[in-house]
Symmetry: C2
DNA sequence: ATCATTCCTATCATTTCTATAGGGTATGTG
DNA sequence: CACATACCCTATAGAAATGATAGGAATGAT
């Protein structure tokens, strides 16, 4: 799974905005705090606004605030709006890919992949990430030291 | 997560070959059974051979056989050889991406994503898929009807 | 007015993805 | 030995995605 720069930047931008509370946070401020290219960031902020995650205010002292509470924005929501479905096979939904002969059961793998991604991405909110308290089953995933090493 | 045509075709090819037992299965036969473009398939079969999954035999009655037992080839192995690491963020390993300020905890999400992918892809073998019996925790993932609908 | 800031459109270089083409090479069979 | 079969290698290429950059228009606060 390739997690794109776009999603990574979008999450960082959302967290920075959420961290600012009710005060608008400007693109420039986000760009500086997170070290992101301003122009690329601008286009992502625009996507986030159009997707209903952010509200913007123009002019002096303008910037962005969350359009919804931080505990109602799940990581999965951001993925779906900016990158499309969590899991696709050759551009198809996992459950729609049909297989013949020896590959009959392969579809089950792709559906299981999607289900396991959902278990992570649909349970974590912006508020969780700001507070540093992740859901129990995520903590369990991270508690095995094995989770932190490359294979 | 985009599961590429390459991985999809590779899995289907491996399963078809595995299904043939000790008899070599030709690229042409795989292409016909699975409905895959012959030339693209050939290049994938070559990758699979170089990666140590397949053994090839040239000439009449040639084709491919598994180079290792079907119960020792995990889906994750195929991903890693053909597509690289299971999860990457901007081309980096999940645990190496560092985050500042409000995004401090974001890295945990990516590590959790990888861990959950491992729970699926590192537990399913070619033999499981041929036999139609998947590991218990995968069955549990698939048993909820929810797993089969799009979001 | 002026300045800060978002918003819009266009462009673009690079890489990845999904192939296709053509011929070279090895091997088993008759 | 000839021949058919089938893998093997290199090169090319169109399309899409990725990760930006540029310039200026619109808006809002003071």
């Amino acid at each position: 799974m390739h997690i794109s720069a776009k999603i990574d930047y979008a999450m960082r931008a959302l967290l920075t905005v959420a961290n600012g509370g009710d005060d608008p946070v400007s693109a420039d401020a986000i760009s500086r705090e997170q070290g992101l290219s301003i122009k690329f960031l601008e286009s992502i902020l625009n996507d986030l606004r159009k997707s209903g995650f952010l509200q913007s205010r123009r002019g002096a002292n303008g910037g962005y605030v969350l359009a919804r509470p931080a505990d109602s924005i799940f990581v999965a929501d951001v993925f779906r709006q900016l990158d499309g479905p969590l899991a696709e096979v050759r551009g198809l939904r996992p459950e729609t890919a049909k297989y013949e002969g020896a590959a009959t059961n392969l579809g089950n793998v792709w559906v299981a992949v999607r289900a396991s991604l959902r278990n992570v991405l649909e349970t974590i909110t912006l508020a969780d990430l700001l507070g540093g308290e992740l859901p129990t089953q995520i903590k369990e995933l991270l508690d095995t030291p094995d989770a932190w090493v490359s294979r």
